[in-house]
Symmetry: C2
Subunit: 165 residues, 2 copies
């Protein structure tokens, strides 16, 4: 899980590079329309002091479409599987933490041919959840896949659902 | 939101009373089968020091079935609307908090006739998420509805989805 953050953090840091690029010279990852109606897989909170707090501090939820759920169950994700990392600000007060504004919508999208150069997965992050604000862009290979490659035995995915679910 | 916890906390405290009762003399609330595939509405964390920590410490998620989503959108919840309060242990470490075991599955189930005595809503809590471990039972009126009655203008529901969702 943490490795995902590290990878996304790197990608996020490279966002300026990506947005400077002219017409897309990479296979774009579509915005995951409707992901808020997908299965909520799990949630985690990154607090101040965590090494990835600057990039990923807050509450994040993982959502998976039906094809991604088949992947979690069987170990191989079919084309069309999409996993979303939905990061929200964490608002602390009164010994409780609630959700604030959206920081980024991270995406892994499986398409064996389109994203063959990165294990069959496309990687992207949409700043603030805005479909027009791509934070990874052409940097997916170096910013995301280089690390995900270590997870080849699990089809390049780090996360797993909670036990029994 | 906090009022919901207070109400559930009271109900939880009365669980011994409920389980001592012989055959159910109250309209039972069905276990919300399949709720993990419903819409994830929002999430909150209750930390040590919060007045309701003893009963509701941890990470909780709210889930709503399609009829409940219509209720959130329109203000009136149709019969068949179900809202689930899914409470998990919070595991802290390394400046991060992750999800642990399930503590209780709280339920509000709309049926105008069956639950007429409590505003058309049935209230229940399933300890550990076990459909056989009812933590509210016959105490729903005093333990839950007495407080929810204050929310009559919002069809007795406290929670609202995040802005823009």
């Amino acid at each position: 899980m943490r490795t995902i953050f590290a990878v996304l953090g790197l990608a996020f840091g490279l966002s300026a590079l990506a947005s400077d690029a002219a017409p897309a010279a990479f296979p774009e990852v579509p915005y995951p329309s409707g992901y808020r109606d997908w299965r909520h897989v799990k949630t985690m909170l990154i607090e101040d002091g965590h090494p990835l707090y600057a990039s990923f501090g807050g509450i994040h939820h993982l959502y998976a479409n039906p094809k991604a759920m088949k992947g979690y169950a069987g170990g191989r994700f079919p084309d069309g599987a999409v996993i979303v990392f939905d990061l929200l600000d964490a608002q602390a007060g009164g010994n409780a933490i609630t959700e604030g504004a959206r920081k980024i919508v991270g995406v892994m999208h499986k398409d064996s041919k389109k994203y063959a150069a990165t294990g069959g997965w496309g990687f992207e992050g949409f700043a603030g959840g805005d479909p027009q604000k791509r934070a990874v862009g052409a940097a997916a290979a170096s910013a995301c896949f280089d690390c995900h490659a270590a997870q080849k035995a699990h089809d390049y995915v780090f996360s797993t659902p909670r036990g029994g679910e």
